[in-house]
Amino acid sequence: MATYLEFERPIAELTSKIQDLSEMGEDSGINIAEEIERLREKRDKLVKKIYREATRAQICQLCRHPDRPYFLDYVPLLFESFQELHGDRAFADDAAIVGGLASFHGRAVVIVGHQKGRDTKEKLKRNFGMPRPEGYRKALRLFKLAERFEMPVLTFIDTAGAWPGIDAEERGQSEAIARNLMELANLRVPVICTVIGEGGSGGALAIGVGDRLYMQQFTTYSVISPEGCAAILWRDRKHAEEAAEALKPTARDLLEFGLIDGIIPEPDEGAHRDLAGAAREIDRVLTSALDELLQLPADTLLSQRHDRLRQVGVYEKS
């Protein structure tokens, strides 16, 4: 059963009308194909219009749409022979981050991504995609594995943020994130990061430092959630829509700021209605980025990555 957000409602209504008419057509034998065709055209136009004109606040909803594909939905479509590797070798296996060895068009790669959960049981198991320190330490272990065996790393970002819990603080959430930022900046293999949903602050960045950063069309990447920002700056979560506008967290905003390398287009109806279509676009972008990066010697790769990070920021001089 598909879920529709408030602003997707008109699409839902037309879809069910078309559905009803097609069923009626079958039952009554009356030829209403023309009417259906007309409604379909209308629907296609509406779909394009609604998503093209989506506001920042609406994109913030789309990036965490309950039907949006998660990392593990894409894995079988993007990779051959995924072998999941578990645990941080120190404390636990954090199911909010999934990683392992995979084959990407015949090339061995390490893949790491956040994983939310689809049903209640899985949501709990995955802690709603909010990693604890052991999740980041598992990711780091896999990054180092990739470096040792000269494999590129592909990461997939989709988290509301790192887990804000007592246990996470006790085990050094800050240290785990900080160390990943430093180690990723110096990893001697290509690293390509893709936001496939919600890019939630430091919890996203901890697997998000690399040579290329892409975002799917209807995703966001933000220093703080619009709700969190509204609670602090407006002192009321109800101002989340205004905060979303002010934070400029969409793929289009970040491309304009020069903070990402490209937007991966989504099918007209969004990744949440067309998984295969969305996967094809990701595949296309990752393939060409990887072809390019695999040509670069490690020293060049690292100095380019260093330069990218060194120059980020906007300030004035007096």
Binding site: R179, V209, F257
Partner: protein, 287 residues
């Protein structure tokens, strides 16, 4: 000409200890024990309560005065100022908030860079100014920290980072988040150059600053009783819905959990750092 003689011979640039900020009023109420204490007595104790040992929050200028040799410190990189890349506006415009902060805390943004001497040992230092927009890290803060690190590499001197921050600066959006990556990436350069990097965490050090450069020091020290962590206590309380344990996220809690190297009283930091950096700099097995 060594940098010290340059400092001494260029009196215009020297901030004497007398010019540094002094809190107003003759008496100060300690936030730890509530005792009223003679201001001069607090100053003599580096703004640590002589009765209960509570460490009051201090400005970077006060800290520089407490930490560095008299007349042997200089502020650097003062020409950098925040832009407004998002044209950000909440209930106030970001540009207006910056102006207010400039008025309140001076125009140094939330980090001030210094070159100074600790018992004659030169250090390059970045210190967070918590009174400037909660010590939040935006583009200027990131750039200043990186410059102070690069200065340490150029001058072959240790890098000292003193933190006091609520986290990344929301008003610069993703530019702020990326400062976490930028500053953390530069720690690799320090390590490659064999430059000692010591972090001193002070009250409070949270969020994006805690989860990046603050936790990457070769040695991580904290002042007693400082609140240090990733998520704020209120956020955690709301998320887990249970009362937080006594002393949660305080320096002593972090030490107990193996997350920091040591807690050092502010009145002993000068001597402690001098000894520590001396050892890290000595390299008796260098080949």
């Amino acid at each position: 000409m060594s940098w010290i003689t340059r400092l001494i011979e260029g009196p215009k640039k020297i901030l004497s200890s007398r010019q540094a900020e002094m809190p107003e009023g003759i008496w100060i109420k300690c936030k730890g024990c509530g005792e009223t204490i003679y201001n001069k007595e607090m100053q003599r104790h580096h703004m640590v309560c002589p009765k209960c040992g509570a460490h009051a929050r201090i400005s970077t200028k006060e800290r520089a005065r407490f930490l560095f040799d008299k007349n042997h410190w200089q502020e650097m990189d003062t020409e950098l100022h925040s832009g407004d890349p998002l044209n950000f506006r909440d209930q106030k415009r970001y540009r207006d908030r910056l102006k207010e902060a400039d008025k309140k805390s001076g125009t140094g943004d939330a980090v001030r860079n210094y070159v100074g001497a600790i018992h004659g040992l030169e250090v390059s230092s970045s210190m967070f100014e918590f009174s400037y927009m909660g010590g939040s890290m935006g583009s200027v803060v990131g750039e200043k920290i990186v410059r102070a690190m690069e200065r340490a590499i150029d001058r072959h001197c240790p890098f000292l980072l003193v933190t006091a921050s609520g986290g990344a600066r929301m008003q610069e959006g993703m530019f702020s988040l990326m400062q976490m990556a930028k500053t953390s990436a530069t720690v690799n350069r320090l390590r490659e150059s064999g430059i000692p990097f010591v972090c001193l965490l002070t009250d409070p050090t949270m969020g994006g600053v805690s989860a990046s450069v603050a936790w990457l020091g070769d040695v991580i020290l904290a002042e007693p009783g400082a609140l240090i962590g990733f998520a704020g206590p209120r956020v955690i309380q709301e998320t887990v819905g249970e009362t937080l344990p006594e002393g949660f996220q305080r320096s002593e809690f972090l030490l107990e959990h193996g997350l920091i190297d040591a807690i050092v009283d502010r009145r002993e930091q000068r001597d402690y750092l001098h000894e520590l950096l001396g050892k890290l700099n000595q390299k008796p097995y260098r080949h």
